[in-house]
């Protein structure tokens, strides 16, 4: 994910001036997404709304001191931690699928984005790694990534629940990546 230069300008501008209008321009586009994220954890409208504002408050201080380069992923981590910490404090922590995304780094995405340049041994490696996944994950990953079916179609084809499909794909993707990194270094 490239960082939009506009965003970079706002980040630097805010760090230097502390002008909330600049920070507002940076944060506002993300508010609907942050709200959705908060709702996922709180399952409560008012709390999520407040959290969106509280996250803005912590941006006010944090972005003055932290030099952030990728605002979107940084914001994601901040927002998520805010919700999790808050839930932990109020002792209502529920089971949340914690690290689906945190382990994701660019290897896989990279391949996706600069698709032409994938060496053949990588493809072979991927094929053999796919074999190591359990059936559900393998099926879902194949359908999704190789046949480019959307979740609903995958669900229709496999008969799995839509949410299951999603987690199979996410977990399958993660396992695939772990497998490929391990084998690459061997």
């Amino acid at each position: 994910m490239g960082v939009p230069p506009e965003e970079q300008k706002l980040l630097v501008g805010y760090r230097e001036t502390g002008d909330l209008r600049v920070l507002g321009r940076l944060y506002e586009p993300y508010m609907p997404l942050v709200y959705g994220l908060c709702y996922k954890y709180y399952k409560d409208e008012a709390k999520s709304e407040d959290a969106v504002m509280q996250i803005f408050e912590s941006l006010i201080t944090k972005l003055r001191t932290h030099e952030v380069t990728n605002f979107k992923s940084w914001l994601y981590t901040l927002a998520r931690n805010h919700c999790l910490m808050d839930l932990r404090r109020s002792n209502r922590i529920q089971t949340v699928d914690i690290d689906e995304h945190l382990m994701e780094s660019d290897v896989f995405m990279h391949q996706h984005h600069s698709g032409e340049g994938i060496p053949e041994e990588q493809l072979v490696l991927m094929e053999s790694c796919l074999e190591t996944l359990n059936t559900e994950q393998q099926t879902c990953v194949r359908l999704f990534y190789l046949e480019q079916k959307c979740y609903k179609e995958v669900a229709d084809i496999t008969g799995y629940d839509l949410n299951k499909v999603k987690s199979h794909i996410q977990n399958g993707k993660r396992n695939l990546k772990i497998c490929m990194e391990k084998n690459k270094h061997e």
Binding site: M1, P4, L20, R21, L23, G24, Y27, E28, P29, Y30, M31, P32, L33, V34, Y35, G36, L37, C38, Y39, K40, Y41, K43, E45, S48, E49, V52, M53, F56, K72, S73, L75, Y76, A79, R80, E100, H101, L102, E104, M109, H112, F144, Q148, K149, C150, Y151, K152, E153, I169, Q170, K173
Partner: protein, 215 residues
């Protein structure tokens, strides 16, 4: 990134309004973008994308930002107000002082007016002669005390030291004071000057006189 674009896509995705390819594209993007993924999950839980709610949130953000601006303004006006208040205080003190100063001289002038009225009109140097009372003293200036005082005043301008002298004298047949003597101690030079003044001065009526001269 365009936020309304994303939110509308999410909404249409959740409503099942997207085409197969669009759905796939969003899902694919969400896999690489955890924030988007979590947002989709959240909206799915909420079962709806509530645009009114989102614009209220935007309103809150705008208010918060406005708050800082207002804070700054309030501070700014605070100083301005302080300045105005300080100026007003200074002006008020000035006016009070002026009023007080105007009142003070008026009191003095009124006191002076009283003083001025009291004495017999006198010569320019403030010299004043009055008849001293006593038995057998009957002399008075023929032209009146006023003329006598004026005469003395003209002659005694700038005389020093200031003081008072009491002179007793006889009036001879021509009305000229003679045998002029001072009551009490008096500087000899001053005495002779005063004697000369009396002799050269206006004529007197009567036989025996005594004057107290203040100069």
């Amino acid at each position: 990134m365009n936020n309304s674009y994303y939110i509308i896509r999410i909404q249409r995705y959740l409503n099942g309004e997207l085409s197969r390819d669009e759905m796939y594209e969003l899902e694919r993007e969400a896999l690489d973008d955890p924030l988007l993924q979590d947002a989709i999950d959240g909206y799915r839980l909420q079962r709806d994308v509530n645009h009114r709610q989102l614009s209220l949130l935007q309103r809150r953000l705008a208010d918060r930002i406005e708050g800082q601006a207002k804070e700054r303004n309030a501070f700014f006006f605070g100083w301005q107000r302080l300045g105005v208040a300080a100026t007003a205080c200074v002006l008020m003190v000035l006016v009070l002082v002026l009023l007080w100063m105007r009142n003070q001289p008026m009191q003095r002038t009124s006191e002076k007016e009283v003083q001025v009225e009291l004495p017999v009109p006198e010569g320019s140097a403030g010299v004043r002669a009055v008849a001293a009372s006593g038995a057998g003293l009957d002399a008075y200036p023929e032209g009146g005390w006023e003329a006598f005082n004026t005469y003395l005043g003209d002659k005694l301008i700038g005389t020093s030291p200031k003081g008072e002298a009491i002179l007793s004298f006889d009036v001879d047949a021509r009305g000229v004071p003679a045998n002029i003597q001072a009551d009490g101690h008096i500087d000899a030079a001053l005495l002779s000057e005063l004697q000369q003044l009396l002799v050269d001065g206006p004529k007197w009526a009567g036989t025996k006189g005594k004057v107290a001269i203040t100069f």
